[in-house]
Symmetry: C3
Subunit: 210 residues, 3 copies
Amino acid sequence: MHASTMVSALELVGLYVFATSGALMAIQKGFDVVGIVVLALLTALGGGIVRDVVIGTAPPAAFRDVVYLIIPLAAAVVTFFAHPLVRRLSFPVLVFDAAGLGLFCVTGTLQALDHGLGPVQAILLGVVTAVGGGVLRDITARETPALVRVETDLYAIPAAAGATVVALAYRAELPMPVVATCAAVAVFLFRIIAMVRHWTAPTAITYRNP
Amino acid sequence: MHASTMVSALELVGLYVFATSGALMAIQKGFDVVGIVVLALLTALGGGIVRDVVIGTAPPAAFRDVVYLIIPLAAAVVTFFAHPLVRRLSFPVLVFDAAGLGLFCVTGTLQALDHGLGPVQAILLGVVTAVGGGVLRDITARETPALVRVETDLYAIPAAAGATVVALAYRAELPMPVVATCAAVAVFLFRIIAMVRHWTAPTAITYRNP
Amino acid sequence: MHASTMVSALELVGLYVFATSGALMAIQKGFDVVGIVVLALLTALGGGIVRDVVIGTAPPAAFRDVVYLIIPLAAAVVTFFAHPLVRRLSFPVLVFDAAGLGLFCVTGTLQALDHGLGPVQAILLGVVTAVGGGVLRDITARETPALVRVETDLYAIPAAAGATVVALAYRAELPMPVVATCAAVAVFLFRIIAMVRHWTAPTAITYRNP
């Protein structure tokens, strides 16, 4: 119960931070309060909703417990009023975002595995859970998704690595609470190091050897 | 039965007008007849399909009765041939669009409540039903969604207000046919007044006090 | 069994080619390897996933057999390394794409009919199966969907014609294996001829008589 309480707490922090990134994007694009709320909700909940629709659990988790809606709405309100302050906190926001990335790719993968999906499918859904909301945010705001841009520090790749570890450990019947915790922490650290060192993913080969 | 016939009739008018707005956008962007049909269908049916996927009723209402497909297709055909006339009717179109907004936010909220979703979730789904199709239209046409643009007269906010009234009345076990009718009419009037007076939603606070 | 083996083989070829078109688009837009994988998966699987979510079969076919994920991933890897060669093969790619169009509009329509949807709904889902992935590819890459652009050689219209033939034959209880094969081949040829002769769909009437 201690562990699951911590997971829940981390999950809410992750949702809050994801929603904040949506709200900040909306403010940056000059959207009104409706746009701020829309992007906050979409960024925080979009990935998990897609995962649950694919798995076939209706309604999605985001609609089962009202706290999943309250947290992003709170983030939208706080960002609406305090966005210059929030912006100055951009490094802490990125750190919590990395924590959300680690947590959601692990929990998303586990949920897919628990619903009987195969390991490759579960890895894909774990990554979708973690990064899907950000893609929906960018598409709605008419930005090229940060996820696919070559300037973006590694984001999907740490998530995919963590999801792969979880899926392999599940197959090997290792003790999941330990594995899941380690994987989430590893994804978090991988993402932080990628940010600090500006590691980026390669583009197609011959762009470099023309 | 009289009341439900009127709801059905209004629903079809609403779908027709939403589809017309999609078809007009497609023509304005220079899309071909495929684009006109795609945007007509997406605008009219997109919000309801998202709602039904989230609620978990498959197939969505849009695919259960063929009339829900026929009406947007008819709107696409009429707009294809008569779009200069349709454009000149832009005020009537906006009035019917406001009627659709009022109707769909109320029926969407009720359907979510009837499927056991909580009040906050039902309000969100009511708003999604009413405004989701327009967002999908704008994204597909590569426009910034009108919904989030600061120049747009209030649109989501009347829908959210109406959905909230419906959810509260449902909780209070008030007689729903009366409440639903009043809420839909109130959303309609709120939207019309917002259009006439060009009420817009606020942007984030410090954009005004730089 | 011979026939179904051929359908499966064609389906995998179709997925491979659709994924290749997604990967090529990603490379052309300068996306990194994550973008290449995302667009490959989305283009190949997007239409079928939307169809299965609407029909209500969860998880969608794309997540039931791992081969449906492996094939697009393989296409992404091959395109990543060999894209100049793949590009030089653009005509063969377009020919296989036309084969995929024919196959997927027919199988999509049949699956919708088998799940009890009406003929108009099944036609729409058949077309969505065939063209939906390409639309999601273009939206994610911030391109106006090729599907709705007036310069695009007929693409959705052959698919709609083939889906209509299948739905009518299903109604008339004709022998489906024969009809389905003929319809898929006809869509393929229709698309090829439309490409060679640059047939395009009309835009709204008065654009021609101003």
